[in-house]
């Protein structure tokens, strides 16, 4: 499929970018630092490693999305490399899909490397049983990054990198607080409540992808949770990319 060609090229480009290498090295260093800090944790060193290890995967992934993802399309437009692609029999929606898929796969590769390093560290400490919970937490973190990445690609197709990063960050924050928004809405008068609840629904439901609390204790989540999170991520990403395609179709490239 033609979108896979674009995805493959995007993946190749992103992987060859030194930013990703720095991210991986930074993540590995952070894992090492958690071990160095473990004596200060008074017996909770394992928990420190698991929590900070999983958090670093999410935070570093978000950093990649905000720096690389938000410029994914706009950089091609500015540098006019997009001319060589869209003048071919490549539908614009498939172009956006390919860009999103390529970066999502690159993020998955980074998460896999860091997640594997985390598990190896735990296994060396005699806690290989954390494999399942680490895998699930990393999988859900990747779904979260895929959702944020879809927003980044959409904004990147319509705006400058700086504005795209701000909008994406705004949706990320709103997504983390969507439960609080709904709780706040319940105390508001009906008109305002409907608006706030609407806003909360538009925001990505990011708490759905958070199982760091369970992974902290080596616990697994349910298949229902995994299924719901996967389905939600697929639907949300498809919706955002469809919106992006609708706006991108009429865009002129001067």
């Amino acid at each position: 499929m033609i979108a896979l060609l674009v995805a493959r090229n995007t993946f190749r480009e992103v992987v060859r970018d030194r930013v990703l290498l720095g991210i991986v090295v930074g993540g590995l260093l952070l894992l090492g630092v958690t071990r160095l800090a473990s004596p200060l944790a008074m017996g909770e060193g394992l928990r420190l490693t698991v929590d900070l290890g999983l958090s670093s995967i999410s935070w570093l992934g978000l950093l990649v999305v905000l720096t690389v993802g938000t410029a994914l399309v706009s950089k091609e437009i500015d540098r006019r490399t997009i001319f060589n692609l869209l003048s071919r029999p490549l539908p614009r929606p498939l172009y956006l899909l390919g860009k999103w898929l390529g970066l999502t796969l690159a993020l998955a590769a980074v998460s896999a490397i860091l997640g594997t390093a985390l598990w190896l560290m735990l296994a060396a400490l005699g806690h290989a049983a954390y494999a399942g919970s680490i895998s699930e937490a990393v999988f859900l973190a990747n779904l979260e990054l895929a959702v944020i990445n879809s927003l980044a690609v959409m904004f990147s197709a319509l705006s400058t990198p700086v504005l795209s990063a701000l909008y994406t960050l705004g949706f990320f924050l709103g997504g983390q607080w969507c439960d609080d928004l709904r709780r706040f809405a319940s105390h508001c008068p009906p008109g305002l409540r409907a608006m706030i609840e609407g806003a909360a629904n538009v925001m990505p439901n990011l708490p759905l992808f958070n199982m760091r609390t369970l992974a902290s204790g080596g616990e697994l989540t349910t298949w229902t949770h995994l299924g719901l999170a996967s389905a939600y991520a697929a639907l949300y990403c498809a919706c955002v990319l469809a919106l992006a395609s609708a706006a991108f179709e009429s865009r002129d490239f001067k």
């Binding site: 033609i2 480009e13 490399t81 001319f83 692609l85 869209l86 003048s87 071919r88 002129d252 001067k254």
Partner: protein, 357 residues
């Protein structure tokens, strides 16, 4: 001279901007196969217009006036105009990068609004840019596959075309290390790697040294021999004159003229210049004075005869007056002169008018 005022000119249109029957051109396309106006045109443009509206002020800037044009299959078609005339706008509309405000167009019979219209087309944008981290082979293989070539064939074609444009030894080199000329050649290879039937080239000679320009000319000629239709815009008018079967001149977003190079040039008044020894005092006879202009320069005098058929008469008089003749040269206006004349006639100055490209 506007297109519609000269019904005998090629691509003349009627009042509804529909083409008249394609007349025979004054300069036949060298008897090459595939060059015929009987098969459907490679590119057919009907009333394509492009206006830009500012989102806040709603002010309209006119980029391209209703344009109608046919490019016949197998021909090399030159698209000329000063900066901001609308050449790149036209090419980008054909390649799907810009949406026309009005009008329709087809490429090889397929409407441009369909993605499939670009399957058999190759496009070289002006000053092309590429992905820094890719190598030449990777990039060509990528774009070949985007144009529908299967994987192995795309790799083979990528290597072949890279060698063809003189970059075969740099297969593994990242594109960030390419010079401007190398990038231009890579762009050409990218436009041709999938063996398209139509090539649209925006300033293909841009950034190339004379050797590079020669190579590009050879490539275009080779494509022409294959029967590929080539539509290109250029500022280098001698190249256009040498390569093109027909030429269109675009000014201020409006199509001024379409004709063969020969018709353009032949349609102007020819002249003959006779150089004689300088320093002689003589007076042109009254019967020849209206058609002879005299210009003294250095050690010789130039006599420009506007009616070449009276050359023998002038030479006979010079012989009778014992004025030594140094040389006789037919004067044929170049395309560049015609272009400049047309531009001045339309009172267009590129540095005074800002137009979207």
């Amino acid at each position: 001279m506007s297109m519609t005022s000269n019904p005998s000119a090629p691509n003349a249109l009627n009042a509804d901007h529909q083409p008249l029957a394609a007349p025979a051109s004054g300069r036949p396309a060298a008897g090459r196969p595939g060059v015929t106006s009987d098969s459907g045109p490679a590119v057919s443009i009907r009333g394509i217009t492009k206006h830009y509206r500012h989102p806040w002020t709603q002010k309209v800037t006119r980029g391209l006036e209703p344009l109608s044009l046919d490019v016949h299959r197998g021909e090399v078609f030159g698209y000329l105009g000063p900066n901001g005339a609308g050449k790149t706008t036209t090419l980008k509309i054909l390649t799907g990068l810009l949406k026309p405000t009005a009008g329709t167009a087809t490429i090889l019979g397929v409407p441009i609004e369909r993605v499939s219209s670009r399957t058999r087309m190759g496009f070289l944008p002006e000053q092309p840019y590429f992905y820094d981290s890719l190598t030449g082979v990777e990039y060509l293989e990528f774009v070949a596959r985007l144009s529908g070539m299967p994987g192995r064939e795309a790799t083979r074609a990528a290597r072949a075309w890279l060698a063809k444009v003189g970059l075969g030894e740099r297969e593994r080199q990242a594109l960030r290390k390419y010079s401007k000329g190398m990038l231009q050649r890579l762009g050409l290879a990218a436009a041709m790697v999938h063996e398209p039937e139509l090539l649209i080239l925006d300033e293909p000679m841009s950034g190339l040294d004379p050797f590079g320009r020669r190579d590009v000319r050879d490539l275009i000629l080779e494509q022409r021999e294959r029967g590929t239709t080539v539509l290109f815009s250029s500022h280098i008018l001698p190249d256009v004159e040498a390569l093109c079967d027909r030429v269109a001149i675009l000014l201020e977003g409006r199509l001024e003229r379409v004709a063969t190079v020969g018709d353009l040039v032949d349609g102007t008044a020819p002249a003959v210049e006779v150089r004689v020894e300088g320093g002689r005092v003589f007076e042109i006879p009254p019967r020849l004075a209206p058609v002879v202009e005299r210009a003294d320069a250095g050690g010789s005098t130039g006599l420009r005869l506007r009616e070449p058929e009276r050359l023998q008469e002038l030479l006979a008089w010079l012989l009778a007056e014992r004025i030594a003749v140094r040389g006789v040269t037919p004067i044929r206006p170049s395309l560049e002169q015609l272009f400049m004349a047309a531009a001045e006639k339309s009172a267009f100055h590129a540095q005074d008018v800002r137009r979207p490209a």
